[in-house]
């Protein structure tokens, strides 16, 4: 079992039909809780625990783009990140620019 922040508990299951409850083998964390990572999906097999992990920012980026895709706006592969970064830089630029203008006006 795992939560969104990569805290895991590993249990062993009884092999036959019985009323014996699963017993805990151990607990741990796949990544530190303050690392801004989210455990989106995980699966376990004989060799390893496979975990798909994303940053908070990537998730909001995807949600933003799925809205655009549903609105019928095409986004080419490889443009996704660039488009977002460009948008962000533009926002920062306007933010910075407006602050400079306000400061000049105040002065």
């Amino acid at each position: 079992m795992a939560d969104d922040y990569g805290q895991i508990s590993v249990y062993s299951l009884p092999k036959s039909k019985s009323y014996i409850k699963p017993s805990i083998i151990g607990t741990g964390e796949l990544f530190p809780k303050n690392s801004r990572l989210l455990l989106e999906s995980f699966t376990v097999y004989e060799f390893a625990i496979v975990a798909y992990v994303r940053r908070f920012e990537q998730r909001s980026n995807e949600i933003e783009h799925s809205k655009l895709i549903k609105a019928g706006l095409p986004i080419m592969k490889g443009e996704q990140v660039c488009f977002y970064i460009f948008n962000l830089s533009l926002n920062y630029f306007f933010c910075f620019f407006s602050r400079v203008v306000v400061m000049i006006m105040v002065v």
């Binding site: 995980f42 625990i49 798909y52 992990v53 995807e62």
Partner: protein
């Protein structure tokens, strides 16, 4: 990023992915890692790495198995049994069950069209292809005052289960108000 950890929690390796993955499922019988790509709306797979040296190679080669680009079907949850794979589209309230063999034959479909207050959110598949689907109360479709009267508390949608026959017919409806997650073992059903 896809990271692989040992069962003790130690990191083995990680591989960057250029697209998001909604669900990833290990399948030792077919030697595959099944993955659901919500951006390209498809199901694809990797070969399952069996040792450290294979991880990079296995996780860079994707084989697209089901492509829903031109369909009104956008699965967000994927479930599996040994021989079948199920896809749940929560937004359109649709469920599809496929065989896992090379042909990926469509076994059955189910649409939760009768009750708009409940959304399909999860499920488990039995080995005879019956499915237990989890439905979660859709808060948006219910007036908040009504919900307060019914439920007693605010942010806690109710859940219920529907048992589907292999041909997609509703067999039972089971009340499971506080069910959060469930898993099917070889001999047990956990909730």
């Amino acid at each position: 990023m896809i990271y692989l950890f040992s069962h003790g929690g130690d990191e083995i390796d990680g591989v960057y992915q250029s697209h998001p993955i909604r669900t990833i499922l290990a399948d030792q019988i077919f030697g595959r890692l099944w993955a659901l790509n919500p951006m390209d709306n498809n199901v694809y797979c990797y070969m399952t790495p069996t040792n450290e040296n294979e991880i990079g190679k296995c996780l860079q080669e994707e084989e697209i198995l089901l492509d829903f680009t031109d369909e009104q079907f956008e699965p967000s949850t994927m479930i599996q049994s040994d021989q079948s794979i199920g896809l749940i589209d929560t937004e359109h309230d649709l469920y599809r069950l496929y065989t896992k063999d090379d042909k990926l034959r469509l076994i059955t479909t189910y649409e939760n069209s009768h009750n708009q207050q409940w959304k399909l959110t999860d499920g488990v598949i039995f080995k005879d292809n019956r499915t237990l689907l989890k439905l979660t109360e859709d808060k948006c479709s219910i007036d908040s005052n009504d919900r307060l009267k019914k439920n007693g508390f605010h942010n806690n949608p109710r859940r219920c289960l529907i048992e589907l026959t292999p041909d997609g017919q509703e067999k039972h409806r089971i009340q499971a108000d506080t069910l959060y997650s469930m898993a099917l073992g070889k001999h047990f059903f956990f909730r």
